[in-house]
């Protein structure tokens, strides 16, 4: 079974070409082609999954042929299937398929229905291929592919200037990271290393250079996973269709950065500085994004910042050696965040606004959406025993064991904030009184069924990694070398439970009961609030440091071209022309002048030769 693994990305890829070339003729059928393709991939994935698990095979590699040779190395398109791959494949195919089904309802009225499904198929193909390939360069190739799809889908409603700008911004920002990744790959290539993930552990070379390579590879991951300071594109990316936000900007593509770090973990682990950087960047992103999420009013942006924050947590976990914790959170997060986004999409679909203050009381109008959203929110908030609870616990444990008190505190603070802002969304948007007069309907079945399925995962997926349930199946699965028995860490369970409950209570007090800080404290608080509300002015700083100078540089170059280079050219031309304008006055057009010159010439000739002639005579 596993030898057919290369077919997994092929199905969506074919669906892409079918949809893009025959878009008009297919009409609504295109959606089912895309869904069919990804269903086939899903089935194949699970076939392989169970095939490998039952056969107790943890590793499968094969080469599909050589691609190019550089520096004496032949780079081939190879496939690596191990348990991490299998996990990612399952997440991508399941979430992808569900979201595509959801999209049929969500995008039903859109005029570019077929193109949407074409892009999403291309995304699925690239993402699945990204997960499957076995070396860094190939990963880079598909990495760019998913970036492109992300850009195209963010700008899907390109008539909105904001969407178009966001698409461009997303691609360029991630491209900055990707370029780092490319240079990192080049460093490895230049020092003669194999780019295969399986060989990365054996990389040798100058410590500094290799650390730089690791950091550059992480830069790629930072771009894709929207880590500080390259996170600015992700909130803007919410201009795209919500289903896309769910699929690409929450569940799969943004997790690719985490996947990359996890995939080349053997390489990072040899370079502590790089690993440490990952942890710090992750921590900064986590707490920064979580605090911004507390003040945002756009439901999608709240979720977007929450995504940044959660990805930060995963990076943090990976950075302190919590490989299992990071990947576990990656998996659970994919499901509940997709659920949250789809729920938000369902809400937006119904109320046509994204501002949570204009919603309210939605739970009564949209029962399924409301309940599933609350499940997702609780999972994200880390309320037990939903899936987020278990994965967050893993992270806490990893941090605790690593012995970095500051990082641990950051993680605690982040999860407190997470619970707080999710509770805020629920209290403001779903509970309370309705602020809208218009009739609000529940979304159609094609949208709610994926919600229900995802909610199911959000509730139960965590048990895979829960210590007392099937003995930490996930931990043993993702890290087959680990044999120790996983124990329940009751301290952490209590800590995180208290944390989320406190946060929710606090949110309840503020947003339902209208509790306010004493005025003296408020004064102090306003400044801070303003800073957060403006997202720490990071966008503005980017604008000042990068974008403006870039534009100025461009204008400067243009001016340089026109004024200096062309100026020199024109100066040469002008000098020639001026000289010519004098010289050409000799050309009077009068025959007698010409004759005069001619005779002068003859005269001079005579003068010259006369002496000689005389001598001859």
């Amino acid at each position: 079974m596993v030898k057919y693994v290369y077919l997994i990305p092929i199905f969506p890829f074919l669906a892409f070409w079918l949809n893009i070339l025959l878009g008009k003729q297919l009409g609504r059928l295109s959606a089912w082609i895309a869904i069919g393709a990804s269903l086939l991939s899903t089935i194949l994935t699970f076939g392989i999954f169970f095939g490998m698990v039952t056969a107790n095979v943890h590793n499968y590699t094969c080469s599909l042929g050589s691609w190019i040779s550089i520096n004496g190395q032949t780079l081939s398109l190879g496939i690596l299937v191990d348990n991490l791959t299998l996990m990612m494949l399952s997440v991508v195919t399941v979430v992808g398929t569900l979201i595509q089904i959801y999209s049929v309802g969500y995008m039903s009225t859109d005029i570019r229905f077929t193109r949407y499904f074409a892009y999403i198929s291309l995304f699925m193909a690239s993402m699945l291929a990204l997960v499957l390939v076995d070396d860094l360069l190939m990963l880079y190739i598909f990495w760019e592919g998913v970036g492109l799809c992300s850009c195209l889908l963010i700008a899907f409603w390109h008539e909105k200037p904001a969407a178009a700008a966001a698409g461009v911004k997303a691609f360029i920002t991630t491209r900055i990271g990707d370029t780092g990744l490319l240079i990192g790959i080049l460093i490895l290539l230049a020092s003669g290393h194999s780019l295969r993930f399986t060989d990365l552990g054996a990389v040798q070379g100058s410590e500094v250079l290799m650390t730089v390579a690791a950091l550059l590879i992480f830069l790629g991951a930072m771009g894709k996973s929207a880590q500080f300071p390259l996170h600015v594109w992700l909130p803007d990316a919410m201009e795209g269709p919500t289903a896309i936000s769910a699929l690409i900007h929450a569940a799969t593509m943004v997790a690719a950065g985490v996947y990359l770090v996890a995939r080349s973990y053997v390489f990072f682990i040899d370079h502590p500085l790089a690993l440490h950087t990952i942890a710090v960047i992750g921590a900064i992103s986590a707490v920064m994004a979580a605090s911004i999420a507390c003040t945002a009013n756009d439901i999608k942006r709240i979720l977007a910042y929450s995504t940044i924050s959660q990805l930060g947590l995963m990076m943090l976990a990976l950075g302190v050696g919590g490989y299992v914790a990071g990947t576990f959170h990656l998996m659970t997060h994919a499901f509940f965040k997709a659920l949250l986004f789809l729920g938000a999409g369902s809400v937006i679909h119904a109320v046509h606004t994204q501002d949570i203050h204009q919603m309210g009381g939605l739970l009564h109008r949209m029962k399924v959406t409301g309940i599933t959203f609350i499940i997702g929110a609780l999972a994200l908030a880390g309320v037990g025993p939903l899936s987020g609870f278990w994965s967050k616990d893993e992270i806490f444990i990893a941090l605790w064991q690593s012995g970095h008190p500051v990082l641990f505190a950051v993680a605690v603070l982040t999860s407190f904030l997470t619970a707080f802002y999710m509770a805020r969304v629920i209290f403001v948007a779903f509970l309370g009184i309705s602020r809208r007069q218009q009739q609000i309907h529940e979304s159609p079945l094609v949208m709610t069924i994926p919600l229900i399925i995802l909610a199911f995962f959000a509730v139960f997926l965590g048990f895979l990694g829960a210590p007392w349930c099937i003995n930490g199946a996930f931990q043993h699965f993702i890290s087959p070398a680990m044999h120790e028995v996983i124990h329940m860490n009751w301290g952490m369970v209590i800590l995180s439970s208290i944390l989320s409950l406190t946060a929710i209570t606090l949110a309840y007090l503020i947003f339902v009961k209208g509790f306010r800080l004493p005025s003296s404290g408020e004064q102090y608080f306003v400044c801070f609030y303003k800073l957060i509300e403006n997202k720490y002015y990071i966008d503005e700083i980017h604008e000042k440091i990068f974008i403006k100078p870039f534009h100025q540089l461009c204008s400067l170059f243009k001016k340089f071209d026109c004024m200096y280079i062309d100026g020199v050219i024109h100066a040469v031309a002008t000098v020639t022309a001026v000289m010519a304008s004098y010289i050409r006055r000799w050309q009077t057009g009068r025959i007698e002048n010409y004759l005069f010159y001619q005779i002068c010439g003859i005269f001079i000739l005579l003068m010259v030769i006369s002496g000689k002639l005389c001598r001859i005579f």
Partner: protein, 162 residues
């Protein structure tokens, strides 16, 4: 005696040539040119080239000068005495022609002429005629074609177009 004849002819040629380019009236200038050409014809006779002298009179004095006179008469007003006949490069022109004359004179006078001369006892017209129609028939025919072309060309150019 013959020396006197030659210098007289030379004087006639020189003086009338100078006059033909200096007198104000174009018509007079044509008359002076006629005198120059006639004197040159006489010089030809003097130099034992009687046939050439006859041709000179026939073609130049009889043909070309007539044309000149016609041309002068056809182009009205140009013979008017009040019109400036020289252009702005009078002095440079004079200078350069005088200079050319001087320098050529210098070259000529330095030449070893005495050694060259082997006087021809007299040229038979028959010899000229035979040479013209045998050895030099190609240039001869060429000249006739040029003349024909000039004839046709003159008619074409001179024709008044409707």
């Amino acid at each position: 005696m013959s020396v006197v004849v030659f210098y007289f002819l030379a004087f006639c040629i020189g003086a009338s040539a100078v006059l033909s380019v200096t007198v104000r009236d174009v018509f007079h200038s044509a008359i002076w040119l006629t005198l120059t050409l006639l004197s040159i014809a006489c010089l030809y006779f003097y130099l034992d080239a009687g046939f050439l002298g006859v041709i000179q009179i026939l073609v130049y004095v009889g043909g070309i000068m007539t044309l000149f006179v016609f041309a002068i008469m056809l182009t009205a007003r140009i013979g008017d005495r009040s019109i400036q006949q020289t252009n702005r490069q009078l002095w440079p022109g004079l200078l350069i022609s005088a200079g050319a004359f001087t320098i050529m004179l210098k070259i000529i006078l330095s030449g070893p002429w005495a050694n060259l001369i082997t006087l021809n006892p007299g040229i038979d017209l028959k010899v000229v005629g035979r040479a013209l129609l045998t050895q030099y028939v190609l240039p001869f025919e060429f000249i006739s074609i040029i003349l024909l072309a000039a004839l046709v060309g003159a008619i074409v150019i001179g024709k008044v177009k409707e």
